[in-house]
Symmetry: C2
Subunit: 315 residues, 2 copies
Amino acid sequence: MEARHLRYALALAEHQHFGRAARSLGIAQPPLSTQIAALEREIGELLFDRTSRGVVPTAAGEAFLARARAALAEMTLASVDAGRAARGETGRLRIGFTGSALLDPLPGVLGRFRRTHPGVRLALQELDSATGTAALLAGELDVAVGRGNPRGVGAEDLLTVSIGTDHLVAVVSVAHPFAGRSAVELDQLAAEDLIVSPDAAASYLRPVFGADRAPLDGATLARDVHTIAGLAACCAGVGLGPNRMRLIARTDIRFCDVEPRYRLPDLAMSFRAADRSPVLAAFLSVVRLNCSDVGSRLDDLLARHPSVVADAARS
Amino acid sequence: MEARHLRYALALAEHQHFGRAARSLGIAQPPLSTQIAALEREIGELLFDRTSRGVVPTAAGEAFLARARAALAEMTLASVDAGRAARGETGRLRIGFTGSALLDPLPGVLGRFRRTHPGVRLALQELDSATGTAALLAGELDVAVGRGNPRGVGAEDLLTVSIGTDHLVAVVSVAHPFAGRSAVELDQLAAEDLIVSPDAAASYLRPVFGADRAPLDGATLARDVHTIAGLAACCAGVGLGPNRMRLIARTDIRFCDVEPRYRLPDLAMSFRAADRSPVLAAFLSVVRLNCSDVGSRLDDLLARHPSVVADAARS
DNA sequence: TCTCCGCGATACCCAGGACGTATCGTGACG
DNA sequence: CGTCACGATACGTCCTGGGTATCGCGGAGA
């Protein structure tokens, strides 16, 4: 059975007349007769009752026609869905991210992506940078947002773009002596109880205090920037984190720049270099539109998916 | 797009290899390549990523394949459903019946039909004989069970078979003087308050009392045999009805034959002579199996639907 | 009752395309 | 760097879907 048979049967049922149905199909009447006869022979049942002034579906015909309509609808949907999938409008995207990215680039990017690609299911997960990289390489994530470029075995299979720069700021309770000061000196911090993320304590904050390991080794650890801010509000110490932390709108805390200014590793978005998923491409093209400093590297990647880029830009 | 393209794409996705897929389809590899290429050209998207050691569906391909599977499933279901409909296994049957038919032939017939044809939706409706005939002619019913052959304009378009004979019996309260008697004389009844159905009072019971219209004109009317029996139990008079009324299992009533025995018009099942519905044929073939006295007329009708009869007999 | 008309079925021919065979281009792997 | 395996391309062939002409038949009207 071919789709042609379904189309012919539906046309015949609609016009109840071989001649008119054939004309509507752009063919002559005899071929339509033979095709319908062949279909009935294959099914093993008469689908139409022939009368002298036309044709009417039998009960078997009615049952067949209902399924035929559904089948043809599925076929056109197959084509439509393929196009949508190719433009990254449907599918799934699994994103792991470090908490501080939720403060700035992600709300804009994800909000825009959800609006322009409502058919894509987003699976979001807060992860520290190292876990995100591992999950990405294991194929459990499609995108990982972490601080700094991924390192370790397999990292060469990933592509990474910067989606935001930060420098170190301190957060304190309004009751703290630092509150009201626009900046504090680094050596003043060494004498305070510090609150930092495990990521920061283990890696990129190490160079800040030079040889003096005491401040970080004795620090209170909190994975999330909101927890750091909350602990600071509790007067548990001086919180240290990226300056996008300033977006936290608590009235019981104050922020101070740290002097000398210390630049943190960039917020970085990674994905598998071999990943040709159009959904990923669509997501990256939204990222490019929303983040000014991603550089031109994305353009080269997105050249592989012209329709995706055009689709994203249109929205 | 033809069904062939769907089958080819599914085979290719299954084997991830042009050569093996082609072999599984019983064709050579080059035609498969060209057909897939033609499909991709029509869709406007690449459905498969070609590598040097095989082939893997793209995101667009995955979306397409899901719909393709559904479309092919619909096509096979179209064939299956057509066969089922032709054998009367699916569809709808609207049956109007007079209440007393529910006592004897219908429970057996409908029970068997429901078991053998679970896919047929039955629409059942209690109707008096005249209304049933009218609804049948109006196309609102497929089968009407009434007492006596349909009469009136259009009745020649109907076919009718007898599905049961009855004679007149009386029903009385256990407290009534007739209770315990196996038979009562007709002229004894004339002196009693009678309870009869409107149908009976208006037509086929008229001849019973000859010129004396008083017993029927003054009778209590109740459409349903159970109501007649209930009223008799209330000592509201002597109920008259078909002897299949004896199947009513109330302990507060007794039945008596009426002497001389008066044969009532047969319980008759009617349907449109022009109705070629396989569901009707299936139903009638079950009727023939369940009712011994339908005569041979049904056989001629059912000869039009050999597969239906075979199907019903098998169960 | 006969004739005419309209509809679907059949007969026959033709052309497009689906398939087969042979061959080529190209990555992967030893 | 040679070989192998896989998909793409080229080309011939045959099947079949479609066109034209015609037939069979049932219904309507004279």
